[in-house]
Subunit: 146 residues, 2 copies
DNA sequence: CAGTATCCTGAACGATACTG
DNA sequence: CAGTATCGTTCAGGATACTG
C-alpha cells in the first residue's frame, strides 16, 4: 500500500502489513497453533505465495523463525508468533465478529471460532473506558486528534 | 477473495468485503462524518476507483445512498453508514491500536485518533467475558469450534 | 517435507480526460 | 461538484515444475 496521502494514518499503515490477501489467514493458523510450512500450506495458499508471505511476516516482525529438527531429518524452521504478532488477535477477532454478524451463511447460528479466557469463559471484543466499563459500539465516536 | 478452501472462514469472508485497499479508508472517513463524493475524494483515491468502491460498499450493505440537494443544484447522493457499516468500527479500532503500537513512526507518542464514549471518556478495545470483566489479550486463546 | 524458481493471469490501482 | 470512461501498469495470486 503506497498511498502517500495516507502515510500518517495508522489504519493505512497497518493495512500495509496486514492487508495482503493471505497474511491474516496465516496469522489465524498461527493462533490455532500451527507453526510449520506444511501446516500453513494446507489452507490452500500456493507454495510460491506462502514463501513470500512468510518472508514478509518475518520481516515485519510478526513471525520469528525457530529451527527445529526431526529424527534423522535436516534442520528446518518453524514460524512462531512474536509479541507484535500476538497483538493482531483483536484484528482477527473483530473480523470474525463482523463476518459472523453480517455475512451469510448462517449469521448468528453460533460462530465457527471460540475465544476463551484462561478460566474457560467465552470472551468477545468490546470498547471499554479507563475504568473497565463496557461501552456499546454504537455509542462510541471517533475523532482525529490535533 | 476467491479461496474456495476458506469460504467457511468468517475472516476470509470479511476480507472479501473489507479487504480491498480503499474500503477501510472510506469507512474511516465515514466515521469521521464524511458523506459526500468530494469529501471522500480528498483522501487521495482516484475518481474511477472511488466510484467502484462506493458501489461495492453500497452493494455489500455498508453504505446506503441518500439523496440530497443544494440550493439551485440538481439532486445528488450522500453515502451514509448502515448498521452493518457502523459495526466495522471495532475492525478499524483494532487496526489503529495495532498500528500505533507496532509501527514506526512514533509508536506510543500519543495516537492520531481518539475513540470516546458518550460521556467523553477515552475508550479502547478489549476482550471481555460475559460478566463484563476485561481479559488481557495475551491470555485469550482461540479455537475452532466443532 | 520444506522450500525455490518460472510463468501466466486478473484485478486493483493510478492518471487523465470527459460529461451533466 | 459528482461522477463515468478509457487506458496503461503493477503486483498479488495461482499453477506447475524443480531441488535438497
Amino acid at each position: 500500500m503506497s498511498m502517500p496521502a495516507n502515510r500518517w494514518c495508522p489504519i493505512a499503515r497497518s493495512l500495509g502489513v496486514l492487508g495482503q490477501k493471505w497474511n491474516l489467514l496465516l496469522l489465524r493458523e498461527a493462533f490455532l497453533g500451527r507453526t510449520r510450512y506444511g501446516e500453513f500450506q494446507r489452507i490452500g495458499v500456493p507454495t510460491g505465495t506462502l514463501g513470500a508471505r512468510l518472508d514478509a511476516l518475518v520481516d515485519a516482525g510478526l513471525f520469528e523463525r525457530r529451527p527445529y529438527q526431526e529424527q534423522g531429518e535436516r534442520s528446518r524452521d518453524e514460524y512462531i508468533l512474536t509479541a507484535a504478532g500476538r497483538d493482531v488477535l483483536p484484528v482477527l477477532a473483530a473480523l470474525i465478529e463482523w463476518g459472523e454478524s453480517h455475512l451469510s451463511p448462517a449469521p448468528g447460528t453460533g460462530g465457527t471460532y471460540a475465544a476463551t479466557s484462561p478460566e474457560g469463559h467465552a470472551v468477545r471484543l468490546a470498547f471499554v473506558d479507563d475504568r473497565g466499563t463496557v461501552v456499546d459500539n454504537d455509542a462510541v465516536t471517533v475523532a482525529r486528534k490535533r
